[in-house]
Amino acid sequence: MTEVNQRGVASVPDRAAAHRPAAPSGGVPARHRAGPAARRKRRGPSPLTILLFMLPGLAMFGLLVVIPVVSAIYFSFFKWNGLGGPPGISETSEWLGLGNFARAFSDSVFRGDLLRGLVLMVLSLTVQLPFSLALALLLHQKFPGRTIFRLLFFAPYVISEVITGVLFGVVLRQEGGLVNELLRSAGLGSLVPANGWLGTRSILLVVAFVVITWKYFGFHMIIYLAGRQNIPRELTEAAMTDGATPWQAFRHVTLPLLGPTIRVTIFLSVIGVIQLFDMIFVLTGPNYGGPGHAAETMAITMYRHGFQRFEVGYASAISVIMFLICLVFALAYIRFVMRRDIEGAVTNVGGRR
């Protein structure tokens, strides 16, 4: 009997909701029947519920992001070999204040890392991205076998950085390497550097850049291709009808509409350069960035000091500097360059519209 009663009672608000859609209602069927207006007016979950659902995410974020970052910052103030418990407690640690940071900026290797990073960034933005864009526009045209080319060009991105490093180590071998053998059989043996592609200080950074480009141009190409496909054909056709040359159509219609896509790839490219590690580490083997630090990056310097030299404090300082560079760049870039692209997607600072 009670069941019947309960069902009967429960059905009352259901029916009421059906008749008065605007009324707040908690029943499940009501929510389905109610319009958007009802949903907006419905009382939201309590702050406690929100907190409860966010807790797992917050815990993970705190555990995996906040605590490590904070401890790295803490470590970076010490001279510490990583042994005997955390610095401050460990007997093999010594408070340095900002000493590790001063050391980094007076160290010619680390300053070189910054310079090399800048060179790679400039090369990426002026060579790699335009190259990928050109390819994307080419592959946007209709021609037989287009899908196969798209697939082939994207393939290197799927291979891991370590495998890419090993692969090019073999391809660039002095004797029996693919590149040198091709050059020699084409009668261009004089182009082979005497110390090898990976052993010549003056060209190593460029060689590394070529390998990076080989790996990532397909990725940028696919992004551009997706961006290009989102541009309605009518716009270009209208421009052409109005007498625009193909170059003008590209310059004044396609390029501006690709703007958001290009800005994203620039962002990814720069962040990627700042964190570059695996490929160079594998390419240059036990020499940490090649002869004369020719292709050493910040991350490699950090690894060398942390794991090879037991200078965990100094390595932490380098990691903190890397973090700050990433953070400042990312915030500034998003705030000033990508502002229009992400309007509404990200919370506006200070509720500005």
């Binding site: 995996l64 970052v69 005997g84």
Partner: protein, 432 residues
Amino acid sequence: MNGTLRRGTVALSATVALLLASACGSDSGGSDGGASWWHIQTGEQALSDLFPQLAEEFNEANDANIQPEPIANDDFKPALTTAMQAGDPPDIFHSWGGGVLAQYVRAGLVKDITDDVSDIVQNMSPGALAPYTIDGRIYGLPFDMGMVGMWYNKALFEEAGLDPDNPPATWSELLDAVTALKEAGITPIAIAGAAPWTQHYWFSYLSIRIMGVDGYTAAREAKSFDDPGFLQAAQLWKELVDMEPFQDGFLQQGYGGEDSSPAVFGAGGAAMHLMGQWDPSVQESSSGTSLGDDLGWFPFPAVEGGAGSIDEVYGGGNGHAVGANAPDYAVDFLVFLATEAYDRILEQEPSIIPVTLDAEIPASEVNRILIQESVANASSFQLYFDQDLPPAVGDQVNASVGAITDGSATPEEAVQQMHETFQAEPDFQVEE
């Protein structure tokens, strides 16, 4: 865009998480899951088969639980670093002794086994034991003892008109040999340009030939590289580099593998290779061939006017140390390895040089006998600089010597870098 921003943070925090893990690591030394035994004999088939057998026999006889964990050499170093920084050393682990082991000892991570092994060390070569003796106490037992020396190709020497039975004994004779080989169109020296630790052998040998082991020891005590002997050694090395005696493309070749200096030397592509006692096995595995009877060995030549002599030996061995929290039977196992089991290790005829005074090498192994005699008759013994010095200084020595080789630093700059790194090395005193 949050996603991409997070990429940056995640990559960084992955690094830092390692450090965090080290700070939070707990001591869990073998009380429940047995005693882990980290060894690096993965290349030598005979030993990688024998080691687990020995552990099993020992476990059955002593109701122990030793668990061998073979780790490849290059993976072993960072793995051990991480375990040590977590304050959780393996119960038994491979060690070359020296400054790296000393660093762990001073952090209280290694067991003092002096009293347990006082009997058996009587039958051991003092030179082999020295790297494991820190502040007068013993922290490990060696099972292999060797030295760095010059491997050379007798056939190529003959081809260049040099007497293969009378290899260079002085530095100037060596330079003459290099010239003669070059004139005969033979690459005089194979070297791993991309692995600076192989080049630091040249620099260290030149240093101890010029200053003597005593001179080097005094400099190490003073935490200094400003002795003119180091600069002279760097300059002599630079002089040799300038003669361009190395194989084509050496700067991108490492040590071991198809495209490497032992592969070049093993295939007869160069006349000399300065390397440790283990090199013949790497030559064979890297080149796929064997030089056979053409392979010869001679000690590093003396430097004219130097304080050191040709019978001072530079090198090191392989051994094991015991983690601070290891069960007692771990020490017993080390003793077992050095006594009852040691003969069976030697029976496998691995390319190791015995550390016990009464061990014998088969007469056919001419080069191994030469090395064993050189070690046994050494007037003094010097451990590899990059193991003997604190890790940061050892790594700087390698890097600086590499910089001379690739031309990115002058000898003066290179020695100055080493000196500055050594001076900056902290002198932590840890109370026991």
